[in-house]
Symmetry: C2
């Protein structure tokens, strides 16, 4: 498709490989070669600066390219810095006190090797029933420690969840060990081991594995699935300019960072020639996975995966024809290595179209005249692996103006050892002999930097409620009256709102300055989200303190630069006292949010009570939410999608053929020529 | 695929064309040629008889084929009958008193012609601004009258919702008229007209149509969608024996009737050789679409579409490559005509497979060893048209044992006239000049005749709740404890339960006689449904009385033959005093439902506050629910689905190639050879 229009990156492009190298060189030159790089990532332009440039790219100054840098210097000293890449200068360099930056993949990978050699760990393994010479069969998933008041946040810690593999290819989560070493990154050693009062020796249950040799040994793969081919012989329907993408009236920029993974910027919809802004920026800004077993040390299992490990850092390199089928475009991701190199994740982002079934249909019962129009969807996706779990994230654009976020959970349950048939006390389920999978939640925080027909927006809570008038009263004689009760959220404090299933609650991001020409209601996008379990750890609990975004289904804040991550910038080992992130920003809640540039934060997800069918590898469990245009368009914006088939009353009355028959000629009857019965 | 094994139908097969003819002949011979046939449909065998045959088809008697017949004799006399087809005898013939059977498509189609010639209707049209000579441009959607206390249920009535088409191809819902004639079927005439106090003349707004000529006149169809082809060159992965279907360990029988449409019978899953029953029968048993405008006569708009018109009778004939893509198998449906003929709906049921994305995936962060397995789904679907609306029903089977019901709503809003910019009082939305689309709900009742590992089942309500112990207490020191609170539903009365979004409530259909070998919990299927708005018409309202199933998200009844339709057998013009159907059956609620053959009834759906983007034709709005195995299987039942790609730690350590690379070779890079940028 030709070469790039300009060599200049779009201001929201992730740092290129060269830019990361430049930033690292500048930092090394100024602060020495011994630094360990945790983060070298785009410091996004200030919104005012960016939007001024966007409004007038020829005349307004182009936002500078700035690198956000976090390093760990010898002695565990953590520095936050900003590097002006073109200027070659470090514009900020700040020593942090008692804050721990994100834990990188390299840091995670180190721990297992240390654990295997630690005499106290070896001692515990022997107690568990593993001979000392089998330490190469011992594995650990290093996790952020959450917060442990015995150690605080000065030392950089990980907790090592311990497992055993009788065979290198065996799924280790079948063989959890019952103790938990704690690793100090500065010392490079194990500083403590949490040992339970009740000991649970290594399970002797034979493994049930999902790898090919194991499946073959059990009788092999099923052979009765015939291939389904999905092809686009004329090419795809989207086009890219740099990282700006256009598809079916949609246009947006695809960003990506170490933390949130996919970021969608400057989302607009071309409404009959008028390019209308909808969202300034969409991302998953944070998540938390609290486990529900209150027994020590399981309370520490509540990963804030994005702030503590990074949805970008953990992203999979995707493979054509496996993760996605059809005609795919991939984007790579570049990240620093600890030592100051660059690693590239090939195919980090998948971009493709899918058939979406019926977009709309109507038949007239009088004459069977009919229109059937098939829909198409456009999907920007990534998959990331957080130790045992995988999260597949699909940002889906529809032709009718809807944006859907779908998340599939797959991978493997986090497991803990149990004596066979030990009472789990309701905090978990025995999913396999000797394997206790604890109750947990997966809670995600969607950040919606709204721009619905302009930056000044207002949020309303919508509740479907019956008429207040009683049955038999003149206003509601037959009792059927009901309506949409709208409540304006006036302040950040008032905007802390919960889901209400009984009223099918939705949240409406409206522009009250623009009314729909027909309904006379403000143009809006409505958040329709039905999987909103709420945080089950109680008010005042450690999780509640550390993950303030999860206290309510929705928070709304006035837009302020750098308020991106609602559990704070540096998340590992925060105590939650005081809470970082959104609770700090909201403060006393007095800031007005009526008709202003605002950000809506939505926490949704699932509560997962494991069962054996989730094990040893979990069939993908999907969850979804929608951002739907309501009173935004003057009519169905997809009426000009060509129908597959259409007949009209006039043509039927005249005995003529179909007006349109563009039905897909590649479709076939399953049993051509017969009726399929055997 | 060869000829049918036996000529005998499966006992749950719909009546064949020949069987319908036989029943009609027998009835005509006995009761005369002047009868109008409303229903000639399979009278399903008694469950005890059917299950005895199923257990031992060689020795137990084969259930007789019996036709359930409803006719209207001259004078509006309604008879319910049963016809023993092989025996050639009428075993039941009963005159009903004040009950109105389902309204057929033919009855609906009659009314418009009568309306156009009625002098009082013409008078009202002229008042609305339509010249008398333009009555051919006047249309009506005849609806069941709901219940109107002025007329009761002795006369067979329809209300005619009136519209105008300036052009034969124009969407009439843009031009609603403000008055409502009432048609008496026995008299064949209009017996009354409801005329509002405020008159609303015919809108003069120019039409915005969705038919091809109209779209062409506005600039034509978009041309930037490239085709997506979906093909199965080696054929499909399912096989049929009569109407029994097998796919990926699932086996079930596909029934169909005039009322519920698709019925899935005798659903089993082959679990490593053990054929385990799960559901005896699944269907959508009833629905109700209450409109929320309390002003007369809009309170009458609350169609119980299945009991009043029939999801089978209203079913569309589907077209290859339009409604469904890929390799499709269709089944036809046969119904009686009023005069005693048979009409056939070709392609009433669509059967096909679709790719389902990632079935499961896991990567090991240590060595990037990975398994990715793609899923497949199997879909039995139909689309039916209820006047303005279309409902697309998808019964989806997954490889992991999940059954999903997805419903897409499309078609056209029901509309009423308004003065331009008249206050809708919150009961509706002006979606187009002069067009008021009233608030409404679409509530569906899923009937689950359960058979989870045998007929004796028990239902539990599951609520995700925090530990009762306070933060800081020894039992819940860090406050993170939470668990699944299970409440057994002991009686039919206690089983009237509502949704609770705050606890992510699910309902578990368990077999307490069989425990999972690992979790030691009863094997179960769990109803996971998140779109459960509850009935907004108030307790005691007309809708509440007529649609008792909609009063609660879940009812559970002991299985009793003939308790199929929860608003009663004959639904039109019921007053709701007393309520028919499920409220009768439950009575005082004392019947125990612990460990017995039971039926779970689930009412779910959406509340729809229209907006202009729904008009003039509505982009499909999906809703979904799941029936998921929990503690049913000993492990993931889909582990033997062959992976697309797999590497293992041992093979990576040895530097060898992938163990499995079966990635789809038809997939392509979108911009082969370049990076896709322009
Ligand atoms: Co989970
Ligand atoms: Co609707």
């Amino acid at each position: 498709m030709g070469s790039q229009v300009a060599n200049l990156p779009y201001p929201l492009d992730p740092l290129s490989l060269d830019e990361i190298n430049t930033a690292i060189s500048l930092v090394k030159k100024a602060h020495g070669e011994t630094l360990l790089f945790n983060v070298v990532s785009l410091h996004e332009p200030r919104k005012a600066e960016f939007t001024a440039w966007l409004a007038s790219p020829e005349t307004a100054p182009r936002p500078k390219r700035v690198a956000d840098v976090v390093v760990i210097a010898p002695g565990g000293k953590v520095f936050d810095g900003l590097v002006d890449l073109a200027g070659g200068s470090i514009t900020k360099w700040e020593l942090l006190d008692g804050e721990q930056p994100i834990i990188t993949m390299e840091e995670l990978q180190l721990v297992e090797h240390i654990v295997r050699k630690d005499p106290k760990v070896i001692e515990q393994c022997v107690i568990s029933g593993i001979p000392a010479e089998d330490m190469h069969k011992v594995y650990c998933d290093p996790w952020t420690i959450g917060y442990d008041e015995r150690f605080g946040s000065k030392a950089r810690l990980q907790q090592a969840l311990m497992y055993y593999r009788p065979d290198i290819d065996t799924c280790q989560y079948q063989y959890p060990l019952d103790f938990c070493p704690i690793y100090d990154a500065d010392k490079g050693e194990i500083i403590a081991i949490d040992i339970p009062k009740i000991r649970r020796p290594l399970s002797k249950a034979p493994a049930v594995d999902y790898h090919p040799a194991a499946v073959e040994a059990r009788g092999g793969y099923r052979t009765n699935l015939k291939p389904i081919n999905i092809t686009q012989p004329e090419g795809v329907s989207f086009k890219l300019t740099g990282r700006e993408i256009e598809w079916q009236n949609w246009k947006f920029h695809i960003g990506f960072n170490y933390r949130e993974g996919i970021i969608l910027n400057n989302i607009t919809f071309n409404d009959k020639g008028a390019v209308r802004p909808i969202f300034h920026r969409l991302s998953l800004a944070e998540m938390v996975v609290p486990y529900g077993n209150p027994e020590r040390p399981h309370h520490r299992k509540h990963a804030l995966d994005q702030g503590e490990y990074g949805a970008g850092y953990m992203t999979n390199s995707l493979a054509l024809g496996c993760d996605c089928k059809g005609s795919i475009h991939y984007l790579d991701a570049h990240f620093p290595t600890r030592a100051g190199g660059v690693r590239t994740i090939k195919n980090a982002i998948c971009i493709h179209e899918e058939d979406a079934g019926i977009l709309f249909k109507h038949s007239d019962f009088r004459d069977d005249s009919v229109i059937v129009t098939r829909g198409r969807k456009f999907i920007i996706s990534q998959v990331f692996t957080a130790a045992n779990y995988e999260y597949a994230i699909y940002w889906i654009f529809h032709q009718d103006g809807t944006i859907q976020l779908e998340i599939k959970l797959t991978g493997i349950l986090n497991t803990y050892a149990m004596l066979e048939d030990e009472d789990t006390n309701g905090w978990g389920t025995q999913v396999f002999p000797g394997v206790n999978a604890h109750n947990h939640q997966h809670l995600f925080c969607l950040r919606v930097d709204a721009n619905v027909d302009g930056p000044d927006n207002t949020v309303f809570v919508n509740d479907a409620v019956p008429s207040e008038a009683p049955v038999g009263s003149p206003e509601n004689y037959y009792g059927n009256g009901f309506y949409n009760k709208r409540t304006k959220l006036e302040t950040e404090g008032q905007a802390r709102t919960d889901y209400n299933g009984a009223t099918s609650r939705t949240w409406e991001i409206a522009n009250t300055n623009k009314l729909n020409p027909y309904s006379k209601k403000p143009v809006s996008y409505k958040l329709v989200s039905r999987e909103v379990p709420g945080l089950l750890p109680k008010e005042g609990s450690l999780v509640w303190k550390r993950a303030p975004f999860a206290r309510h289904a929705v928070h709304v804040t006035k837009y302020r630069d750098d308020e991106l991550w609602p559990a704070g910038r540096h998340v590992p080992q925060t105590s939650g006292e005081p809470s970082r992130g959104i609770s700090e920003w909201i403060g006393d809640g007095a800031a007005p949010i009526d008709n202003t540039d605002l950000v809506l934060w939505h926490t949704f997800g699932v509560t997962h009570f494991p069962s054996p069918e989730d094990f040893p590898v979990m069939p993908a469990e999907p969850m979804t939410l929608l951002l739907r245009p309501r009173n935004f368009f003057a009519g169905n914006p997809a009426m000009d999608v060509a129908p597959s088939f259409c007949t009209t009353p006039s043509q039927i009355a005249a005995g003529r053929e179909a007006v349109v028959d563009a039905s897909d000629r590649m479709s076939r009857l399953a049993f051509e020529g017969d009726d399929g019965t055997v």
